[in-house]
Symmetry: C2
Subunit: 345 residues, 2 copies
């Protein structure tokens, strides 16, 4: 009984268009609902602190391919990507629920391996598995994780807090998860054409690990706290750096200016991208799934992080009218565009 009158394809508006449509139809009724749709996590006033809640769904055939993703790693990743959303609000994760829908293709042993990965992540990030749902599916494996976290009210970081002259920072290095995916996809094709071939992943360990077992950067959330540094805006890099920068620009009503020669790219990402005839800069800008943190700080806080080995200062915030620009090594300035992953497109 879907509507027959008019049919608009979701591909016409894309994932972010759909989210905007949904958001526009709902208003918040409870005073305690501080922040709804539109950031890495929702924010609920729990009295002394803010409660954070976020959720992510991973679908077999869309987000992961079990022909090369060990199911244990999938369990780990499902937790890590949710922890990353709490990190992005400058919060500490506390509890998760894990729901799975599985077809009869999966054995008890496979499901137990999945939960071993969940458990390993729970211990690593100090979160408690407190609930979930287990159901059948007609085909494939679907995971839905929800996470609760908390943050002191004065330390919360929204996407909307960036101001002109703030410094834009990124943690770790970018593009590795995407290039790692290319390596895994190539080996899968080799395997499919000749099942006797062994996968050749040596030399690509770092890249493959970045794809299969991403880590939420809780280590840096704790470090920022020790430095007494609250970013002015923050989010995690899941859809690609360019896409996230544009979210911050829109939410904060500012312009963004970043520099090619400041982008943190690991040597193996660079070399392997070239081997795959990919532009390493495009991989870093649009690759996605790195789960690093993107944040902005006031100029006054520059001294606190200037020598940090794992934080790169990649640009600065400008007035909205100056737009979102990317300056190449040769000094050319081009408009910053997101080509990151969007569903329905």
């Amino acid at each position: 009984m879907e509507q027959k009158q008019k049919r608009t394809e979701l591909s016409e508006i894309g994932e972010f268009g759909l989210i905007d449509r949904i958001k526009s139809k709902f208003t918040l009724q409870h005073e305690a609902s501080v922040k709804g749709i539109g950031d890495d996590a929702a924010v609920v006033d729990a009295g002394e602190k803010f409660l954070l809640i976020s959720t992510d769904m991973l679908v077999e055939g869309i987000h992961f391919d079990l022909s090369y993703v060990p199911i244990r790693h999938l369990g780990y990743k499902a937790v890590a990507v949710n922890v990353s959303d709490i990190a992005a609000m400058n919060g500490i994760p506390k509890q998760i629920t894990v729901s799975i829908a599985i077809s009869n293709r999966f054995s008890l042993e496979a499901i137990e391996a999945f939960y071993e990965g969940v458990k390993f992540a729970c211990e690593n990030y100090r979160v408690d598995l407190v609930g979930g749902d287990t159901t059948s599916s007609t085909s494939g494996f679907i995971v839905s994780v929800s996470i609760l976290g908390e943050v002191e009210k004065e330390n919360i970081c929204y996407r909307s807090g960036a101001r002109p002259n703030d410094i834009i920072c990124a943690t770790g290095d970018l593009g590795a998860a995407y290039v790692g995916l290319q390596v895994l996809e190539r080996e899968k094709q080799v395997f499919l054409s000749n099942p006797d071939m062994q996968p050749e992943l040596s030399g690509y360990d770092y890249l493959v690990q970045r794809q299969l077992k991403p880590e939420a950067r809780m280590d840096l959330i704790h470090e920022l706290k020790e430095m007494n540094l609250a970013p002015s805006a923050m989010m995690d890099i899941s859809d690609g750096l360019a896409s996230e920068l544009l979210h911050i620009a829109t939410s904060s009503e500012v312009g963004i200016s970043i520099y090619e020669d400041k982008l943190p790219i690991d040597k193996s990402t660079f070399d392997t991208a070239v081997e795959f005839k990919l532009d390493p800069i495009t991989c870093a800008l649009n690759g996605g799934e790195d789960y690093e943190l993107l944040f902005t700080i006031r100029q006054d806080d520059y001294e606190k992080i200037k020598k940090h080995p794992d934080i790169a200062m990649i640009g600065y915030v400008t007035q909205k009218e100056q737009g979102n620009v990317f300056t190449t090594k040769s000094g050319n300035t081009v408009g910053l565009k997101a080509q990151g992953w969007q569903h329905f497109q």
Copy 2:
């Protein structure tokens, strides 16, 4: 890379067996995690109150059939069944997240109709939609809802609080949603064999509505509060009365004794069950999806509810050694068995 060594089918242990296996592998690290897996909702100590969190996943082809479920109703039901889990803890729902995975079979109009149902339920139950995830699926529609609620610490109801001599109560009537499903399935078969036939649902309105648009009994949660009555144990009836009674018996370490002639069955449920050559009592005991409340009260509280038109007293709690028994109209006593819905079986 699923394990090749040994393969145990999930059907060998069933859904509840799997949940027990998962539960046994996880321990709670945070003092604030008061109750994890094993009740209708998890419980987190939020200072002044308890925070409740629950989650449910609905999968097309398993939980619903869009050939006769209007997608607007699906949105409503996805929220209502989660609200019901908060009601089952004697709590008040506050915020939800709604995640969907959808194939390109679905148009923007269909998804907007789904969210209209979500919105209608949000307004009805006074909950705020604060987040979610939207992703592609390779086939079909999957919905995962997580809900936050709260309850005063002294009013929380677990499954484990039933004590011998407590009175067992059920709200509303039972079996209607299951019989309604049979009506819908019959009309679907008629339609499939002759698409010119119009569905013949008149006379079955109540049953069909119970299946398509279940309501969480928040009205009774508010009434119990007004009566100053905190049930000793409570849960919602989603898998079938018998299955839920056995959960209470196990969690509370008690026996259960219920009576056929006390079961609340609507006349249309009874008549239509007979028309379908189904035993109305079996429908009431094992039908599932009624989303009524099952609870126990101390004998002292009997006076408070004895005249309530929407609460049936169906039996009483006994010592564990007396087992779980069902007494028929003719006075025969049989063991109470769950034949309710379980995944993987």
